[in-house]
Symmetry: C2
Subunit: 417 residues, 2 copies
């Protein structure tokens, strides 16, 4: 009762993830995976392994017929794509952790997998230790999946947590995150939302068959959130979290965006602390599912790569069913959001920005307005991302009066007595 | 890029789960599964399908060579085992939701799967919509898994939630659970812990390779928990939850039990409300993972069966690696627990029950004591399960001074600079 397929592995990259992976594989002989070679960029860097493990010539892996799995854990999206493409064409299975590459090149990657009938797996590219892609793949029918919402970037969640706990400014919290290793020295990709937007693209492809580039999404980061906003959230028993969400509408289209959001105490996402990730799925079948775990770091990422390796032993592959076998969903921006916008100066907001205004507040330092705004407005403008303006989606993010979300219920599958 | 394996399905049972499954499969054509026949016990019962779907003769399924998958959703553990055994011997893959059967006959079922090289899957038998068994299977090495703790029975969690919310007695809360369909009319299996004990056995087999019968576990239910206990918990910002837990000790053995436990606000398990299930895994790699979802009901169970069907398309099977390829762990009862025991009369407690007593309280109606007690003591006696006595494990359940839990840390996999 075991799979006899033997995996001979070539690795590109020996950074934090590559090193963790090397140790973990050495620790799990029952997986029957052997690392044969590791391709690195800088041969002079001191390493903890015998030099015979390493090569700087990618062909030592690409042209080695014995190697049947290539794991790609570099941080260069272009090189990463070239490696994946070459390997698939040589019918070597590929595992990658590079979310930027997968999100940007997914259409080609799907074609390559079909053309060469060879799998590419990337569970580690999306929330690392959370097995979310494989889970979404199992929602066979488009209509079964009502929606999902998640905290899918650890750096920004760590920063927001610190702002809540310590009343810190964004800059002070970012500094702590960098000191503790939860934010890069160049944190732009995380704090402006690019990293999470790439992950959201991957999720949308597997959830609904929606294929799009990250820059086609409505998204922003957390760099404009102020202690004023945090106080406002606290006074309403909420925390501000950067939430990626997607909802299937009654018209069959999907509304999706990545914007900071008020999350109330008692909700599942409220519990997602510090550098952790969490994702809630709502479906007609399983009702609500919630997955929580570390979304980054050497060992959590290695654990997801391990699970992909394990899956390759029984020839698992993504089917992209909603993309290839069903009518893929498309995004809809004709919805209205309930939002809170705080700002320094009146002129930072366009005139008549709200469809409906509900509340406003003014003080010496900071003002805010609450009301209903069209998602389209956000898609075609960027005043709301500019310094000094902070837009936060309310708890009931889709405006109620305009709410066309398809509410599945048990009666959708009414049972006879 | 799709699997061309066609699944022809025979179903045993057409209760709540069978009916949900029928509708769900009709709704997911892309799974390429066809139901051919449904075997039922009572032909006279009114059904919502054409009679041609049904048979009362099990051989109509067992002897049909076209049927390559049998789904077994009856409530009869003995019949369920016979069906599974016959099907495996005929090399028909089996999916079952019967946790009692799987827990009681796992050793034989593993042998049958090996002998006939045919898979048996039962993700739905353990926390329904939570993909926990498949997840545990991926912890390849015994040592990588530090432990898990979970709320794995929805009925008891619903009852305890109602006792907390409404200050109700156990009996009043049970009545509500029965009215709402969250407890059986004969609730004994749930409230005495038998159902959860079966699930814990299945979890232990996949987590650590420990094979044992439910009655070899130290477990109890919730029927003795009183409003007095609930008030005590509330005053300490805790809820009482029926928690199944397992921890790997430094000596390589595993300590495991299923006993009500104080869970503090802010902990992940605290958020598991009403009829939901939740399970947290702690490991050397992924750190902490948490899974949350519905653990029972027609559609949540059908969703797990769907995921097993999906897995059969790529010939997935459980490997039972810790059982078959590694030295399986064994249970250790030589540990001490921190417990709270409340009771009506002094004589309900044995003399010198505590290794160390920390606190006692006495009032006109109810008394309690807190201290350290050996797990062995609980294993060989039953005074603590008798009416009028309620034993609840403290937050730090394993006594600290005697704590031998193996603390993995990043340094366990120390990385070179």
């Amino acid at each position: 009762m075991s799979y006899d397929k033997k995996l001979v592995v070539g690795i590109f990259g020996y950074g934090v993830v590559g090193q963790a992976l090397f140790q973990v594989l050495g620790h799990t002989p029952s997986l029957q995976s052997t690392i044969k070679k590791i391709c690195i960029k800088h041969p002079k860097k001191p390493r903890d392994l015998d030099p015979s493990w390493f090569t700087t010539d990618r062909n030592d892996i690409l042209n080695d017929d014995e190697i049947n799995v290539v794991i790609e854990v570099t941080d260069d999206a272009d090189a990463s794509f070239e490696i994946a493409k070459t390997c698939l064409s040589k019918r070597k299975a590929v595992i990658t952790a590079n979310k930027k590459m997968v999100a940007a090149r997914l259409e080609e990657l799907v074609q390559l997998q079909q053309e060469f009938n060879t799998p590419l797996l990337y569970e580690s590219a999306c929330c690392a230790s959370i097995p979310i892609i494989r889970n979404l793949e199992e929602y066979y029918d488009n209509d079964l999946l009502r929606g999902f919402e998640g905290i899918i970037n650890g750096s920004t969640n760590f920063i927001l947590s610190k702002m809540h706990q310590g009343g810190l400014t964004f800059e002070a919290a970012l500094k702590i995150a960098q000191e503790k290793g939860f934010a890069e020295s160049n944190p732009a990709l995380d704090i402006h939302g690019h990293d999470a937007a790439s992950k959201l693209c991957i999720l949308l492809a597997h959830a609904y068959g929606v294929l799009l580039q990250p820059n086609e999404l409505v998204f922003t980061g957390i760099e404009n959130i102020t202690p004023f906003d945090i106080s406002y959230a606290k006074s309403r028993n909420c925390q501000i979290k950067l939430v990626a969400q997607a909802l299937k509408l009654e018209n069959g289209k999907v509304v999706s965006f990545l914007i900071p959001r008020f999350v109330r105490e008692g909700q599942l996402l409220y519990q997602v602390k510090d550098e952790f990730n969490g994702l809630a799925i709502t479906s007609a079948l399983a009702d609500q599912q919630f997955f929580y775990g570390k979304g980054a770091g050497g060992f959590p990422t290695a654990s997801a790569i391990l699970s992909d390796l394990s899956a390759l032993r029984y020839d698992y592959r993504y089917e992209y069913r909603k993309l290839l076998q069903q009518e893929p969903s498309v995004l809809d921006q004709n919805v209205h959001l309930n939002v809170y916008i705080s700002y320094d100066h009146w002129e930072q907001l366009p005139i008549q920005v709200f469809e409906k205004e509900e509340e406003y507040f003014s003080s010496f330092n900071r003002h805010y307005r609450k009301g209903t705004i069209s998602l389209k407005t956000l898609a075609i403008s960027d005043w709301w991302k500019k310094p000094g303006v902070s837009l936060i989606v309310c708890e009931d993010s889709i405006a109620e009066s305009l709410n066309t979300i398809h509410h599945f219920s048990e009666s959708h599958f009414e049972l006879a007595a």
